[in-house]
């Protein structure tokens, strides 16, 4: 019977109900979208790392393992590492952030082709001049560029020589020597990818490199992938926690306000229920059950809206803002929304419970 009562209450004020559900859905969508972006970004990075075809990543001294490194390592270290036992190939690259989430990657085309198997071209061709840039299809879609177009990026105008399939190291590629000169890092590289002649020897090669090159982060690509997580990206975990906190506050405030209004609107009905002998537990249970329904509706709508957000973000910035659907976060976001909804309903519930039945029955 209480289900019927709650359902009829929810149904009786459809606009208030839908608005409440929508407002609860907003923080759910916010959580799922930001979590999706974080995971999507990391998953994209992971796929692109795998796409390089290397076994070991060698970074500058004291550099962050998962963050971007500036070009501080002498290029001659590439040759030195290539000469190490069981190293089949060593390839230096330069990375240069150009704003937002976009990064320009400088590569040696011949070395890159040898290590990764080469780009798959959708259109155009490889580098022919110093201003040539290769962009992957995601970035091309994002910026609406085609092979042969001009591409303006901060500090330079490039000529799009070719559009390539995504999944290899970056989204934007230029010749390494050009980028080195442009950023004042001539003869320097940001990171060195190593290919081992026998995959079984990766760990022992890493051990010997670590012994020789003190304070240089050296890790296998498998290790890199495992480290690419929300928890290991500096500040990302804290940022997400702040968003979760804000979501709880929004959910709490929305439900509290909504239920407060509902309790006011239903003062007389609460008086009637009390005159019938409804206990405080019954009245509180009814209010909380209604908040639960709103929280559940908000969670479901929030999940649906996260798909809409994904589609919208993918349409606008597929390369810069890859978003994943993180199913494991559905129940978590739902629990946050439900928790906030129930918490928000407690105060209005207390008001309802404390209402004097005579005054409630006289309420117009």
């Amino acid at each position: 019977m209480i289900v019927k009562l709650v359902w009829e209450n929810v149904r009786h004020k459809p606009v208030r109900t839908l608005l409440s559900i929508l407002l609860i859905a907003v923080p759910v969508t916010l959580i799922l979208t930001l979590i999706g972006l974080s995971h999507g970004f990391i998953e994209d990075s992971r796929k692109r790392s795998v796409g390089v075809g290397a076994d070991i990543l060698f970074k500058p001294q004291n550099a962050s393992v998962v963050g971007l490194s500036t070009a501080t390592m002498p290029e001659k270290m590439v040759q030195a590492l290539a000469a190490e036992p069981h190293i089949a190939q060593a390839m230096g690259t330069v990375v240069n952030p150009i704003g937002g989430f976009d990064v320009l990657v400088g590569i040696d085309p011949a070395e890159f082709d040898k290590m990764s198997g080469g780009f798959v071209f959708d259109s155009g061709h490889t580098f022919q001049g110093p201003n040539d840039i290769l962009v992957d299809t995601w970035y091309a879609d994002q910026r609406h560029v085609r092979a042969g177009d001009k591409l303006h990026l901060p500090g330079h105008d490039w000529h799009v020589a070719g559009i390539v399939e995504p999944g290899k190291l970056g989204h934007l590629f230029v010749q390494m020597s050009v980028l080195q000169d442009m950023i004042g890092a001539t003869g320097k590289v940001s990171q060195i990818f190593l290919k081992v002649d026998d995959k079984k020897l990766v760990d022992s090669v890493i051990q010997s490199l670590r012994a020789k090159y003190d304070n240089y982060p050296i890790l296998s690509m498998a290790e890199l992938q495992s480290l690419l997580s929300v928890d290991n990206v500096p500040m990302l975990g804290s940022f997400l926690n702040v968003i979760l906190g804000i979501s709880v506050v929004i959910g709490f405030a929305v439900v509290s306000l909504s239920m407060y209004m509902a309790v006011l609107q239903r003062t007389r009905e609460i008086g009637i229920l009390k005159s019938l002998g409804a206990t405080k537990f019954f009245v509180m249970g009814m209010i909380l059950a209604e908040a639960f329904c709103l929280g559940l509706g908000g969670t479901i709508l929030g999940i649906l809206l996260s798909f809409a957000a994904k589609a919208a973000i993918h349409a606008v910035a597929p390369a810069s803002l890859p978003q994943a659907i993180v199913y494991v976060w559905w129940p978590r976001a739902g629990a946050i929304a439900m928790g906030a909804a129930l918490l928000g309903a407690l105060y209005p519930g207390m008001i309802a419970v404390r209402q004097d039945p005579i005054e409630a029955l006289a309420y117009e």
């Binding site: 209480i2 019927k4 009829e8 009786h12 009637i272 005159s275 019938l276 002998g277 409804a278 206990t279």
Partner: protein, 234 residues
Amino acid sequence: MSSQAAIISIHDLRKTYHTGKVFVDALRGVNLEVPAGEFLSIVGPSGSGKSTLFHIVGGLTPPSAGEVIVAGRNVSAIGDSGRTELRRKSVSFVFQKFNLLPNLTARDNIRTALYIAGMPTALFADDLKSVLELLGISARLDHKPSEMSGGEQQRVAIARALATRPAILLADEPTGNLDTANSLAVLKLLKDLNQRLGQTILMITHNTEAAEYGHRIVHMRDGQIVETSAPATI
């Protein structure tokens, strides 16, 4: 009357309301005995204390002083939860404004009362079915209050009040919002229910003609019972 044992026993009942620094004595030493099965009418002008008496007997508010025994429970001594239990198990209300839950059908209004009283709600018991027949609302059970006339709503309210088989039915101006024909019908129904089922009824009213339906008429003024009279033959 089916029984002479007092189901309501009131001794020196007093009730004082506090409005800011102002104290209002709503009841000033009321004494009353109501035998089980009696149909008692309480009349009096506004401010005479009849509604306050009604609310105390119904467990909606506690007395300030005195002793009030309702269906074996000392209302003066039980707390808020005790008064809630009294409303759930022993008394039922019929109000002037019907006070049906507007979102629910007549059937669900009755079911809600049964549910709160901890009684089965799926099927109405035979005695309730006969009450519904008597009230003439069997065909209106799937309608919401907004789809019913005032008379029908009040009959649903009476059915809801009787569904839990209360010891006492408290009716507060049950005809106050009804036209003459419906008023007459409701009063006859109350009389009929009292006679057929032996239902104890306390009815407060402004209307002296309505009061005549009771076995006894209690007149109140300034928080006291000033006269008790027998009704003229209807």
